[in-house]
């Protein structure tokens, strides 16, 4: 019988018996970042495509969520920091190799941009809005003028942000479950899917809903494809990756992963949308909430399970 034990020294809080250094804050941060990225992506996309009129919720209404989500996400990240008063150290340097660093900088760029975006539409969203100061009025005119430029910046940054939420995890080769490059695209697609779902919920135009529903269905299919890819890649990987993915294939996260993420979070809402498309009436809130909860759950499970996985020596 093989036996491995600590003779002394190790019973460290949040490190032993297995790593649990990131709690609820990080999955929430990743979820909100992905959601904001998704919303902003579509707002920018339809603007660039010149479809502001056809897609009012995507371009105007839903982006209100983005800065709120980003600020709440950053606040969650801040709560996770153990040496909080040194937070500003993030912005004294750019560490190219550190996803955490460029994530912080991308957020630094996209959060004000998202606010400007909302500000540029504030008069359409809130009838009778008055900036009160001449300077602000001038500024509004300025940003409205350059909205297309903003859209281009936002579309690039939102894709980076979406991918970043995955790469933040996948960059750790010490955590075999995370250490796969598919995680970037997967989290991007998942974030876009939650963004699309949010737009769907907020849209009042039937045509827009139809388009968004299509897009969402497509994203779900791609996401399922990526997850299959993730599992197959792990199964074909080294022993530590095989051990890692077994957490979802009979291990302790099997039920939560297959039931909440795959069935309730992806397959079931996809079926509902298809059924709706076939002409049956389904309250839009059901698939949307399922997708949002599924996305949140997915990040919780990935963060939690990934920390358990490790190299054995």
């Amino acid at each position: 019988m093989k036996e491995e034990l600590f003779v002394s020294g190790r019973n460290i809080p949040n490190i032993d018996p297995y790593l649990n250094i990131w709690h609820w804050q990080i999955p929430v941060y990743l979820f909100l970042g992905g959601l904001a990225a998704g919303i902003l992506f579509f707002a920018a996309l339809f603007t660039i495509m010149g479809k502001e009129k056809e897609m009012p919720a995507a371009v105007r209404t839903a982006p209100i969520i983005a800065p709120i989500a980003l600020i709440l996400g950053l606040f969650a990240l801040f709560l996770d920091l153990k040496h909080k008063l040194f937070f500003w150290q993030l912005y004294t340097t750019i560490r190219i190799e550190s996803p955490m660093s460029w994530g912080a900088w991308v957020l630094m760029a996209i959060t004000p941009l998202s606010m400007l975006w909302v500000a540029s539409y504030v008069k359409e969203l809130v009838p009778g809005w008055n900036w009160k100061y001449r300077l602000l009025e001038n500024f509004e005119t300025f940003i409205i003028k350059y909205r297309l430029w903003m859209a281009w910046m936002i579309i690039v940054l939102s894709v980076i942000l979406g991918i970043y939420t995955g790469i933040l995890l996948s960059a750790f080769n010490a955590r075999p479950l995370w250490n796969t490059s598919i995680l970037g695209p997967l989290f991007l697609v998942s974030g876009m899917s939650t963004g699309a779902a949010t737009i769907l919920l907020m849209s009042k135009s039937k045509e827009e809903r139809r388009t968004m529903s299509w897009i969402d269905l497509l994203l779900i299919v791609v996401e399922i494809f990526f997850i299959t890819h993730l599992i197959m890649g792990m199964k074909a990987g080294s022993q530590v990756q095989i051990d890692a993915v077994s957490l979802f294939l009979g291990g302790q996260f099997t039920v939560s992963f297959w039931v909440f993420v795959i069935l309730l979070g992806l397959v079931f809402p996809a079926i509902l949308e298809i059924v709706e498309r076939l002409g049956y009436h389904i309250p839009v809130v059901i698939p949307v909430v399922l997708i949002l909860l599924g996305g949140l759950m997915f990040r919780f499970i990935m963060v939690e399970a990934g920390q358990i996985t490790r190299y054995l020596y």
């Binding site: 019988m1 909080k84 008063l85």
Partner: protein, 767 residues
């Protein structure tokens, strides 16, 4: 005047309080007084979010330059390594390191020595003297001044002296405080001084070697492991017993490519480093030893010149071991005959640079002197005693005693209590003193009062019932300790001693490869109201009219005087901590010269006339010992390198290293019982004794299927020991079968068998 009468009055009150308790001495937990400790503060850090914001870059160890170094020698175990206490400007001891000049540690303390800071910082330490009183019908302690506590003890001791004679006082001791109280009690007029280290530990070993070579292996042992070519460990787990110098030398021996042979039913750490591990069936060691002797003699492998020059009784030995072939031993020990022959050959090849190490804790089966004899004989046949790589002759320096009047001659001593038992006991067996404290029938007990200094008898003595009866019968029980160990709960008066880092003690004058002197001095002021043992003894002495024996105001005067007699001084020692002296005699036998061993005939006693005359086997005999019944497993106990017996179980730094013990179970046994790794189980022994607490299971291939193993010293049931309470299991409470060694009174403790209880037996724990 007013003040004095006040004191007298309080004294009388406490005296009366004490008398009310004559019938029964309840166990009192010291925490009942609210003296319990606050949360652990050692090493705690400033909480919060990490100020200062703009501080300079952290520079680890920057306080290093302002540290003061104070010489000391360690008191966490009996090895007494010399070291330095590193003290900050504000009087905090932050670390302890070894003294490079000390041959006992070579500048490297063991984990317990390094963790000695925890003893100083332990928030649970005794803080003030305590006196047992009755309050609302319940016995409890109240805090007292030193004046009151000392006067109370002195008046009680005076009473005992006039009523029963001074011999009615006895001392139980361990470590440095022992010498100060020995001096006090000798001056008072008693020689009933006992240490568990004799009958519970190394006594059988020492008596066996003395019967053979005329001297014992001493402490620290005179084993020349550093230069050995073959080290045989039989019942010694060097590396788990962290006897510093030996561990260091075993490592050197490994580097030198020495062959290590380990006999142990458990794969000890040492066994894992050995070329040969002999997984012997427990309790059959003597059979193996006899068989090794047989092989050495009948395969003509022994050192003929050495034996003919220095030993006598060879022919008797040769005839006696004729029948003890390896094939005979195989049936008993389960060790293959080839393995026995090969290992004997390895020893002979290395001879005389070979050590059959006699271990230290030798009180196993009641025939332990004989086992020790067998090991001594084996060493003699290999010629290792007095040869390089075997056993060297120690040399030390005797410090003259500080002048004092001659001790009075006691009317009787513990030897008179023997009644013909244990004829070769050369130190008082604790169990004898305990038994003599119990009245029998209409016979008054001979011993009426105890001072217990630095030893937790509750964990050290296996005879729980006798111990309890004795403590109930005493008229005075004083406990001197640094910690509220279990034994303090039975005291009439508890005296808080300061730790070794806060006091002067005797000079460590070590006899070993070379004579060394080491100083222990206070590194910082004593915490709370704690006092050094020398001060307590002197104060009691003065109150008993024995002031002439304590003719100094501070113990440093004694040390300075003693050091000056041997050409040093306290000032010099304060600077260097350790002084090595050169030896005058050769550490080894010199070829061509004769050597007189300290036996009656001057020769090594292969055949012991002394034992024959006393009515014992002159040559060691193998006796079969009981084996566990089905469902029971032999209880084997041992040491962990991070703790010293039960004494360190509350040391916060050492608790962080090893908070509890576990019971080692073979996977096959675990399977039968359906016991899982890390599960907690209770243990019950053959007499129905149940462990106070549950113990964590370690399922491991390192232990045989007929035995279990636990590390001694855990399972404290005294709540004031905040870190130790309820952690693990205390082996002593499961040792109810004690096999006495008729030769010297050793308490054999390995004949106990345990079984597992997976459900909480709901035992009430007295605490």
């Amino acid at each position: 005047m007013h003040q004095i009468s006040d004191v007298c009055q309080t004294m009388n009150e406490s005296h009366n309080e004490l008398f009310q308790m004559k019938t029964r001495r309840d166990f009192i937990k010291i925490s009942a007084l609210g003296l319990g400790a606050a949360a652990l503060t050692a090493g705690a850090s400033k909480m919060g979010m990490g100020f200062p914001l703009l501080g300079s870059e952290n520079e680890p160890g920057s306080e290093e330059n302002t540290l003061r170094r104070v010489p000391t020698y360690c008191e966490v175990c009996f090895w007494k390594c010399a070291g330095w206490a590193h003290v900050t400007e504000d009087g905090n001891i932050i670390k302890i390191t070894g003294n490079d000049d000390d041959p006992q540690c070579n500048g490297r303390l063991c984990p317990r020595g390094t963790g000695g800071v925890g003893m100083f910082n332990d928030p649970d330490r005794l803080k003030t003297p305590l006196i047992r009183v009755v309050k609302d019908g319940e016995q409890t302690y109240r805090e007292a001044s030193w004046e009151e506590a000392l006067s109370l003890i002195a008046s009680k001791m005076s009473d005992l002296r006039s009523k029963y004679g001074p011999e009615s006082m006895a001392l139980f001791m361990h470590g440095a405080p022992g010498t100060h109280f020995s001096h006090l009690l000798k001056a008072y007029g008693t020689l009933n001084l006992a240490a568990p280290s004799f009958a519970q530990c190394r006594g059988p070993r020492d008596v066996g070697f003395e019967a053979t070579f005329g001297e014992s292996v001493s402490s620290p042992e005179v084993t020349d492991i550093r230069d050995t070519r073959c080290l045989v460990l039989i019942g010694s787990h060097i590396g788990e017993n962290m006897h510093n110098g030996q561990v260091q030398e075993m490592s050197q021996a490994i580097d030198n490519g020495a062959v290590i042979i380990t006999v142990d039913p458990r794969l000890s750490t040492a066994a894992s480093k050995s070329k040969y591990w002999l997984p012997i069936k427990p309790s059959t060691d003597i059979a193996l030893l006899l068989s090794w002797i047989h092989v050495l003699i009948y395969d003509d492998l022994y050192n003929k010149e050495y034996v003919s020059t220095y030993a006598e009784g060879f022919d008797e030995l040769k005839a006696y071991v004729k029948k003890f072939t390896p094939e005979w031993a195989y049936g008993i020990t389960t060790l293959k005959p080839d393995l026995i022959r090969n290992t004997a050959r390895e020893m002979a090849n290395a001879a005389p640079s070979v050590i059959i190490h006699p271990g230290r804790h030798a009180a196993w089966y009641g025939d332990d002197v004989q086992r020790s004899r067998a090991m001594a004989i084996l060493n003699a046949l290999l010629g290792s005693w007095g040869n390089r790589g075997g056993f060297f002759f120690k040399e030390g320096i005797k410090l003259p005693e500080f002048p004092h009047p001659e001790y009075p001659k006691p009317a009787w001593t513990w030897k008179d209590l023997l009644n013909g038992k244990y004829p070769m006991a050369n130190e008082a067996p604790t169990n004898l003193v305990i038994e003599s404290s119990i009245p029998t029938g209409d016979q008054e007990a001979k011993i009426k009062g105890w001072i217990v200094a630095g030893t937790n008898l509750i964990s050290a003595i296996p005879l729980k019932e006798e111990l309890s009866k004795a403590m109930q019968s005493l008229e005075l029980l004083v406990v001197v300790d640094t910690m509220p160990m279990e034994i303090t709960g039975y005291a009439d008066v508890v005296l808080p001693e300061c730790t070794y880092l806060e006091r002067y003690d005797d000079i460590r004058a070590t006899s070993h490869r070379e004579p060394t002197l080491c100083l222990r001095m206070p590194a910082v002021e004593a915490k709370n109201q704690t006092k050094p043992a020398w001060w307590i003894a002197k104060q009691l002495g003065e109150r008993l009219g024995l002031g002439a024996y304590f003719n100094y105001t501070d113990f440093s005067e004694v040390l300075d005087w003693q050091l000056k007699q041997v050409g040093s001084s306290l000032d010099e020692m304060k600077r260097i901590g350790v002084k090595k002296l050169s030896r005058e005699s050769s550490p080894y036998l010199e070829p061509g010269t004769s050597h007189t061993f300290k036996t009656a005939s001057g020769k090594i006693q292969l055949y012991s006339h002394e034992l024959a005359e006393a009515g014992f086997d002159p040559l060691p005999a193998f006796t079969k010992h009981p084996e566990p019944e089905e469902g029971f497993y032999r209880l084997i106990y041992g040491r962990a390198p991070m703790h010293t017996f039960s004494r360190t179980a509350n040391n916060p730094n050492l608790v962080a290293l090893m908070p509890e013990n576990s019971v080692w179970i073979n996977p096959q046994v675990a399977k039968i019982w359906g016991i899982k790794k890390d599960q907690y189980v209770w243990l019950k022994n053959q007499d129905g004794a149940v462990s106070n607490f549950a113990v964590k299971v370690r399922i491991t291939e390192r232990i045989r299927w007929d035995s279990v193993y636990i590390v001694h010293g855990f399972g404290h049931h005294h709540k004031p020991l905040h870190f130790a309470y309820g952690r693990g299991v205390n082996d002593t409470e499961l040792i109810t079968n004690v096999m006495m060694d008729p030769i010297m009174g050793g308490t054999g403790m390995r004949g106990n068998f345990i079984t597992f209880l997976t459900e909480d037996p709901g035992k009430e724990v007295e605490a």
